[in-house]
């Protein structure tokens, strides 16, 4: 006799598919926020399942800091082609050139916070009423408070103290002109769940997640990749290390870890023994205790 209960990965998958279909049913013009990282790749994979055999009915939107890993961009373009979906790019460089934002100054300058303006501008100019993200509640304490359907006012702001309660599976995406929603179908997944699922489904991911030899510099307790954007500080030296990335973001602030995990099996093993959170190597989150909360309130991913 067959069993009539789901294992936890199937249940998470079913929940995510339900949310993606609900987005499609409740909104006019939704997009998937696509960074080329594993979480947005996972969301895209789940969307493919949710609408099979039809095409994914959402465009992918990439907020491009201009500081990319070339691997990520190639991966993105290949995927867009394979799925036959539209790609929308919001460019931080353009926002800088147009004077919408100014480049940060100083030693630890990044374009991380600048993405907020580019993101909100792209949402407005493309008349997007729901942006689907790969945010997970286990990532960070402000994200632990997120709803599946998260309301943004007409300034794109999040008000964590006044969120709509979400009961059972009933999602309320009602909004007024100018407001929009963020939807988080993989809210309940942990890093471990993501990797177990990627392995189970054999989802292709950028090679950056697998251990590889790379020129890096040791900074803020992690290995920052050498790129055209990296300025060496005094006392820093370029080394060749076998590393991999646990998260992918802006190349100037994404630190790698030393690792020999060059297959999905090895990554799953490594992650299950991991003693540090994955965002521990992201200097964007290290700025202060409330770095994520502050950015999220303004409209960050």
């Amino acid at each position: 006799m067959s069993k009539y209960y789901l294992n936890y990965l199937d249940e998470l998958e079913s929940e995510a598919i339900y949310i993606l279909r609900e987005v499609w049913a409740q909104f006019e013009n939704p997009v998937i926020l696509f960074s080329g990282g594993k979480d947005s790749i996972l969301v895209t994979h789940l969307a493919r399942k949710a609408f099979f055999p039809a095409k994914i009915p959402f465009a992918l939107m990439h907020v491009d800091t201009g500081h990319n890993f070339p691997e990520t961009i190639n991966f993105r373009d290949d995927l867009v082609k394979e799925l036959g979906v539209k790609l929308i790019v919001g460019s931080v460089q353009e926002s800088i050139d147009n004077g919408r934002v100014a480049e940060e100054k100083g030693k630890n300058a990044t374009r991380n916070a600048l993405q907020i303006t580019t993101l909100l501008d792209a949402i407005e100019s493309n008349k997007i009423d729901c942006a689907i993200g790969g945010g997970r509640r286990d990532e960070e304490k402000a994200r632990a408070k997120e709803r599946f359907f998260s309301h943004r006012n007409d300034f794109g702001e999040w008000d964590p103290k006044n969120q709509r309660p979400e009961l059972w599976n009933l999602l309320n995406g009602k909004h007024f002109e100018g407001e929009h929603f963020r939807a988080f179908p993989i809210s309940n997944w942990t890093e471990m769940d993501v990797w177990n699922y990627i392995k189970r489904e054999n989802i292709s991911i950028p090679s950056l997640y697998l251990a590889h030899e790379r020129e890096v510099v040791y900074r803020n307790n992690s290995w920052i990749p050498v790129s055209e954007f990296l300025k060496l500080e005094e006392g820093e030296k370029v080394e060749n290390k076998k590393i991999r990335f646990r998260t992918l973001g802006d190349i100037t602030i994404t630190g790698g870890i030393e690792s020999d995990a060059d297959t999905l099996e090895k990554i799953v093993q490594e992650v299950s023994a991991m003693r540090k959170t994955e965002r521990g190597d992201r200097s964007d989150d290290k700025r202060s205790e409330t770095a994520m909360e502050d950015r999220k309130k303004q409209g960050y991913f």
């Binding site: 929940e15 055999p53 059972w168 599976n169």
Partner: protein, 418 residues
């Protein structure tokens, strides 16, 4: 790790900081080795800054800036941990502020509720309130943790007295499965590791209880209900005739060849195929997300429900619900709201307030008709079109509904069909 049969268990924790709720969650995470080094380091630093001896486990559940500053929880926070047996999702709900609203939210999807009682104080009003909500929301399993046993000399007598108090008042509530565990969240007794100070307690620790609860019957597998979320119509040449009804099975089991009825139209057909993602399957069950095709071409859209011919929900336009009010603006007598039930959305009017419930005494009040934030009342609703309803007690997914204020778009109430 063998993950094929590992299930997901969602539980909610009720209690306040004073009961040691945050410490308990911190203890569960810490002893189940779900805390990472950088989290531990940051909490150790903060503990030292605050002058604590050792690590203050409660700090692991710290959330937003305001919450840390005020030492309270404002909103439901979700936490995750995994053991070799199960994956767990904790809906950590605040004890004091807006307790009803938040606990109802956390409880709506929970398999189990963990209710905390301070061993020094025994059953208090708050315990009754939390138990009432757990029963109202029909949470299948209730685990009552009698905490701070270290402060009452690990006394079996104190424990038994509190169990007695709980049994006394809870006999008036509808509950299926209640268990009691004496614990000390602070010292870790009977949370993950067995207590050495309470030899008299022979049952499982909190974690082993959570790991072994029978939850595969928590979802109704008898009454087949499939609310249609959306219709899939591929544009490609090879799938031109495909018309898939997509949704998440709310309850029951569907098989290819089943004779089905579409509600509210009443048309009948047979299931031709079932897709789970890109795989074709012979049968599917709740809570799977699927797409099905039918033998006949029938006009079906979002909001319709596909059920079995011989087992149908009620088709009702006027019905009673237990309502929990979730918004700062009070309910308007004869007010009009948008009602959302499964994938169906209609308009509703609050026709009558039958009674309000005092959730501390469980008494009914038929005089007071003002419904405000956190109030629970039995009301009569009338809708513009019939809804496909089951009693909430029999089916949480097709017996639960929400009301939305048409002026603000906010979710203002949760309702459970009586």
């Amino acid at each position: 790790m063998e993950i094929d049969n590992n299930q997901l268990l969602r539980f909610t924790t009720a209690g306040s900081v004073d009961d040691g709720k945050s410490t308990l969650i911190g203890r569960l995470l810490y002893d189940s080795k779900s805390i990472f080094e950088d989290q531990l380091e940051s909490v150790s630093k903060t503990s030292a800054k605050k002058g604590h001896n050792g690590v203050d486990l409660a700090l692991f559940t710290d959330g937003l800036k305001d919450e840390r500053e005020q030492g309270i929880t404002i909103d439901v926070a979700y936490r995750y941990f995994t053991t070799p047996k199960r994956k767990f999702i904790i809906a950590d709900t605040p004890g004091h502020i807006q307790y009803t609203r938040n606990m109802v939210t956390g409880a709506s999807t929970a398999n189990a509720a963990v209710i905390l009682i301070d061993a020094r104080h025994g059953v208090i009003e708050q315990t009754k309130r939390h138990s009432f909500i757990a029963s109202l929301l029909n949470i299948p399993h209730l685990i009552v943790c009698i905490n701070k046993m270290d402060l009452v000399d690990f006394s079996e007598e104190v424990y038994s007295k509190i169990v007695g108090q709980f049994e006394e008042f809870s006999s008036k509530l509808l509950m299926k499965d209640v268990r009691f565990i004496p614990i000390s969240a602070l010292l870790g007794d009977n949370v993950v590791n067995r207590s050495e100070s309470m030899e008299w307690y022979q049952n499982g620790t909190l974690l082993s209880t959570l790991e072994n609860l029978h939850i595969s019957s928590d979802i109704n597998k008898i009454d087949a209900r499939f609310p249609v979320q959306t219709v899939l119509r591929p544009q490609s040449e090879e799938n031109r005739d495909y018309r898939g009804y997509a949704g998440r099975i709310a309850s029951g089991i569907y098989r290819v060849g089943d004779e089905i009825t579409i509600l509210p139209s009443g048309f009948t057909s047979k299931i031709k195929s079932i897709n789970a993602g890109d795989q074709e399957v012979e049968e599917a069950y709740a809570p799977m997300s699927i797409a099905m095709t039918l033998e006949d071409d029938i006009d079906i859209s979002r909001g319709d429900m596909i059920v079995k011919k011989n087992n149908q929900p009620g088709l009702e336009q006027e019905f009673d619900v237990m309502l929990c009010w979730l918004n700062n603006d009070p309910a308007q007598a004869r007010g009009k709201y948008t009602i959302v039930h499964s994938s169906n959305e209609q308009r509703a009017i609050i026709k009558n307030i039958v009674y309000k419930i005092n959730i501390n005494t469980f008494e009914r009040n038929t005089e007071d008709k003002k419904i405000e934030m956190n109030d629970i009342a039995r009301i009569t609703i009338r809708t513009n079109r019939p809804l496909m309803l089951d009693p909430y007690r029999e089916n949480r997914n097709t017996g639960g509904l929400i009301l939305i204020d048409e002026g603000t778009n906010e979710t203002v109430a949760a309702g459970m069909v009586v």
